[in-house]
Amino acid sequence: MDDLSLLSDFSQFIKEKKLEGVRIVAYLAHDNIPEELFDAADFFPLRLMFGGNDDLMDASHNFLPPSTCAFAQSCIGLFSTKPNEFQFLDKIDYFIVSNHCVSDVCVSEIISKNFNISRLNFYVPYTKNENSLKYFKLELQDLRSKLEDIIGAKISDEKLLKSINKYNQFKKSLLKINELEISGSEKLRVIQKAMLYGPEFLPELDTIIQNFKHNPPSISEISKDVLFTGCSIFINDNMVDLIEEGGGNIVFFDTWIGNHYYSQILDDETIKTDQDPLDLLVLKFENNIYGDHSVPNFLEHKIGLIEKFYQEYKEKKGKKLGVINHIIKFCDHISLMSSFLKDRLQEKGIQVLNLERDYSRANRGQLSTRIEAYLEMM
């Protein structure tokens, strides 16, 4: 399924949701938004996980200077130009203003204000310690109470627990994608679709995974495997194709759209306990150590994860694994840490390509050359 038909089907899906009276709440796709809470309030959480292009970026310049993250620019562009395949954006009832990064705050605020979408706040603390976890719970309580005001009813603990369980099972299934020996582009398409539709995709996801397990597609013997970290590859972005055309194959997505999302799993025993379901969401936040929002240990966690994956891969496959650190231009988090990440990994003998780009078409040739050169060097 190509991206256009995915979006077209998704438009229909959202239309049907609206007809069922479901409210749509959208947000920039980061990994600390408690979608379980929306689900328990019978909202559909729509993560904005769409890549950009020149037109979308240009369309944002009435609101933001061009030196803003290209993904953030494109999100505004989607609302101000409303391309045909994105008509479902008209159906959004609420927009979450959150602070994954400061561009998240600015863009969400601009979308809410200028495109007349009611705003809901959800702010995330920067550090991870006892007090910040307590603060995260305050935000959850605040959001829960705002949602209850909107629906005019309480969100029961039982219902919230059910949603937590539902998402947990969904992520467990999605996690299996890591084990599949399929091409990176196929993996990514499944992950993207799953994250777009949420747990309703679970039956289809299980079928896809089973099919891949029983009938694994062939992957080129000569392709060079890489771990993909940094900024996500969003729907409508050709990055994965560029890597595959250059002779590479992504075996692990260490990004929002990837492992950051589906590694946030709670064990079933924990969910069964009688604790406040909000505490489970706090625990999930606490366990999300690979996300780029938090300080001060993001770099250590990231290096630890990559090194572990690299060593295990080398042992299993007997060959080296490349690391592509994808930096969407003007991304605060990934860009600022990129030189430190590269230096530290290279000290450990892991070759890293810091690949910075925006969504302009003109970049394509240059990106291909850099990717090919890196893969050849491997």
């Binding site: 200077p65 300080v295 231009k329 003007f330």
Partner: protein, 451 residues
């Protein structure tokens, strides 16, 4: 620049501040090596806890060797024997006699102070880029990275206070990768004041103080906090008086370009009080007095016919020639970043109050209503400040690579047009001195609106 220097000679407190800023390295070396004090790197005006913990806060650029004008060095040496007031009076006396050579020397001193600081900032910017920070980040961050790469290993700790800017927070995280030696002390400010957020922040502050205690081996008492807050409050009071009573008034104790130059110096030095809170307090209090005294005597300049142009933000980098250009175009530049961000609010010091909690309230107030957890709040701060200063126009420095503040300009322009009805313009900025001609052109066009 000579027109500026001509005036500054009258303010011995400014000479003192400039000297303390530039001669920081010697002072800091003495503190660290002879007196065995702990140096703590601070950025933005968040030095209070470091002072209360009896460490020496330092804005890292001050650890550098500055090429201090030799005469300022002589003045510094003379001041240690005769006192700054006597030195300044002596210079003033000679100057009034019309000895041109002396005037020239003083001109050079002040010109050098400003030039030297700006050159050093640009040098830090280059070091930052050479050491891996992407050129896509703002001037402030690139310079800060440069400061830590070049001198950060000299500090014993870094005091890291999170703010709304995600690039800044990541820069704070990167400090331990730049230099592994210094202890990293964190104060995480919750993004919003909801529930018991103040209580949590108070606890974060208490934890930071514990870390300071481990660093120094000395206890930090409530009284230590109160005593420092009292000094800080005096500094802030004098600073606010200068902003509201003097910079917004129609009679200046000196020409407006000089005045802006002094305000720029205050903005830089306020971050670490030149590493000595009491000395800084004495200087800023006497600066206010000196200004008032001159105004009372009618010495200075009637500026009632010069439009008040609020120039902001400047703390993350701005073109320092702006105020001179504006002056030449018939306007006066007002700088008040720290007040705009609510960092000049006083902290209650009564004995029955918990000082850590009061500090938490101060930080939370700045976060919520000054810096703002979103652009709506931040732009309100600009509006409030422009109103309070009775500004006739607003110039917004849009820093290349700033994703936190520069991004609010579209919203700000809209609000200014709707609520204040004063002219406003944005000037893009990347590096000091890089496009002065363009700044001149933009300011020229802007000032046409007042004719």
């Amino acid at each position: 620049m000579s027109l500026i220097a001509d005036e500054i000679i009258q303010f011995s407190s400014v000479l003192r501040m400039a000297y303390n800023l530039l001669a920081g390295r010697t002072y800091l070396k003495r503190k660290k090596l002879r007196e065995k004090e702990k140096l703590v790197a601070v950025t933005l005006p968040f030095s209070d806890l470091a002072f209360a913990a009896k460490t020496i806060p330092v804005f890292p650029i001050r650890m550098h060797q500055f090429e201090i004008n030799q005469y300022l060095t002589y003045l510094g040496s003379a001041s240690s024997i005769f006192g700054w007031n006597n030195v300044s009076s002596f210079l003033g006396f000679i100057k009034n006699l019309g000895i041109k050579e002396i005037s020239k020397i003083v001109d050079e001193i002040i010109e050098d102070v400003i030039e030297v600081i700006n050159l050093k900032y640009n040098e830090m910017y280059d070091i930052g880029i050479e050491n891996g920070i992407s050129s896509d980040f703002c001037y402030g961050l690139k310079s800060l990275v440069g400061m830590h790469v070049s001198k950060g290993s000299n500090v014993d700790a870094c005091l890291n206070v999170t703010i709304r800017c995600s690039a800044y927070n990541k820069y704070l995280e990167s400090l331990k990768a730049i230099n592994q030696g210094p202890k990293q002390i964190w104060v995480d400010i919750p993004p919003r004041n909801i529930g018991n957020a103040i209580e949590l922040l108070t606890d974060n502050i208490a934890n930071a103080l514990n870390e300071f205690e481990k660093l120094t081996g000395k206890n930090v008492t409530d009284n230590d906090l109160r005593e420092h807050f009292k000094i800080g409050n005096q500094v802030k009071r004098a600073y606010k008086n200068i902003i509201y009573d003097i910079s917004a008034s129609d009679f200046y104790p000196c020409n407006p370009a000089t005045f802006s130059e002094i305000m720029a110096l205050l903005s830089i030095t306020f971050q670490d009080y030149n590493s000595n809170a009491i000395r800084y307090r004495d200087n800023i209090v006497s600066l206010e007095k000196e200004m008032r005294e001159r105004i009372r005597k009618g010495i200075g300049m009637d500026v009632s016919n010069m439009p008040r142009i609020f120039v902001t933000p400047m703390f993350g980098g701005w073109e320092p020639k702006s105020h001179e250009i504006l002056y030449e175009l018939g306007g006066r530049a007002l700088y008040a970043d720290w007040e705009l961000l609510k960092l000049l609010e006083e902290i209650p010091t009564s004995n029955h109050l918990n000082p850590a909690e009061e500090y938490a309230r101060f930080l939370m107030n700045a976060t919520e209503t000054g810096i703002g957890c979103d652009n709506d709040k931040l732009t309100d701060s600009y509006l409030r400040m422009a109103k309070n200063l009775n500004a006739d126009g607003l110039i917004f420095f849009q820093l290349f690579g700033c994703h936190s503040i520069s991004n609010c300009y579209t919203m700000l322009r809209e609000k200014v047009r709707r609520e204040l009805e004063i002219p406003t313009t944005a000037i893009t900025f990347n590096k000091i001195g890089e496009n002065v001609e363009q700044v001149k052109t933009r300011l020229g066009a802007f000032m046409e609106m007042f004719k």
